[in-house]
């Protein structure tokens, strides 16, 4: 696995962790995250990262 792919995987995990933490924080303490971070963008980044990982894997299968 090359460094770029490792980074994509690790970023995917940490963004998944960030989403869970932010959502739990928002439920427990409304507004504390949304005042500074738009969780929608974290979710979009997480999805894009996931798509890149899937693309990378499918390209490898085709080869």
């Amino acid at each position: 696995m090359n460094n770029k792919k490792i980074f994509l995987y690790e970023l995917f995990y940490v963004l998944a962790g960030a989403l869970i933490i932010f959502i739990v924080l928002e439920v427990v303490w409304p507004g504390v995250v949304l005042a500074y971070i738009n969780i929608n963008w974290v979710l979009i980044l997480w999805l894009i990262d996931g798509i890149f990982i899937l693309l990378a894997n499918s390209l490898k299968t085709v080869k």
């Binding site: 940490v14 933490i21 507004g31």
Partner: protein
Amino acid sequence: MSKIQIKIRIFLWVALGLVVVWILYQGIVPFGKKSYSCDFSKPCYNIKKIQPADRVKILADNVDIIGNPVYFTLATPRSFNQAVISLKYKNKDDLPVIETGVLKDELLWRYDLKPIRNKTIDQLALAWRTVSGKGEAILFQRDSVGVESEIKYYQSIDEFLKELPPFEKIAVYNYDLNYNYKIVDYNSGQEKKELPSALRGAYQFYTYIKDEPLDFSFNFFDLNKNKDADGVDIFVYHYGQTIENMHLDGTSIATGAAGDIGNIEFNIANLPEGVYKIEVKASDDIITKKIFTRQTKIAFINKLWLTDSGSEKIKLYTDSQTINGQTINPASLQTIKIGDSALDIKETYKLYTADDFRDINELAIEKDDIIISGNGLFSFTASQLFNPIIKNVTNIDLNYEGINYVLANYASPRQIDDWQVAHATLDLSEAYREDGKYGFIISIPGLRADDNIEDKLELGEISIELTGKTLRQKISDIFSKL
């Protein structure tokens, strides 16, 4: 797992950890100070949109306020004790009074207003003699040139407070001046009398006692139109201090039936002579069917809702300069006679205003179920009316009233380029906070959205600096309670 994978993993999780710590730091505000600002160039999360929509025009870089009043909320992660609110604005139409405040009581919709701009005070600063005191306290003394009577001049505000001039010569603005108000020829009441009309919702009034008990009986009825728990609270104040409070529960929410909820009676003896304020705190579902009292002076403050009880030809007496009438009952549309003029109530729910009244006026009301409000006091008989409050600069003509001294807490707006900037300090310790939000008002009396006049206040920026307890103080508070 390769070394590079471990390094990337540690780096990313540490970064996320730092972000979470930063978010918690912003939420806890450990040092008790926090600032928010909104210049309207983009939506702001903490300072919410200014409303209602029909009184504002949202532009690219500012908000035009075209009607009075407007409201906004401030979302905060925790509670605070004080807010210093700064408004950056352009007042091209020379609107004379601009005030801002925070919501203190959600039931009575009461705001604690502080000045942003007051044209009268700004003009006094140019024409009258001024003496500055602590903070923003300032005493204005009429220049005696052209005035027949001799005016005593004070060198300091402390000297003024020690030797206060006659009550009728003083006006205040944003200054809490305790004046020992006395009625010289006061006659106490000998027997309990009933007030002539039933009242709806909340109200406050002043009364006066001398060598007699403070004696009141109230009978309450719950309409139960809103299925809330409508209780009634009565507070008795003397010089701003609560000396008595009483509570009565509403009717059962489960049944939803309207009904009598009982009486609150009090007879408090051995009270010192003076003015007492009585506040009846209740929702609009509560009717005060009967009020019995021995007191001869009763002056309702700013507003009273004469409820639908079939009463006709009701007389009210007021010293209000502005008088408003409103009804929600089509059967109560009418013309109210105010002295020699008239106020037509032609539509339900619409607020009708008549102003520029002077001295005491009689209101002749044909039918009840009408809300009468204004910037003065209201009584059912001329003899009951008295005004123990020191006159407010915004409600009077200083020359007509013969005012020689004005005591104010006020700082004039500063001019920065094309903009004016002014600040107001608001006490948040007793402010109402719901869902993590404080409610604010911007009040510009006289600015109306429906008058076809193109006047407005251009608001460029709102900045709010909050101060509250530090994390250390909060922790020590928790331990001190254990």
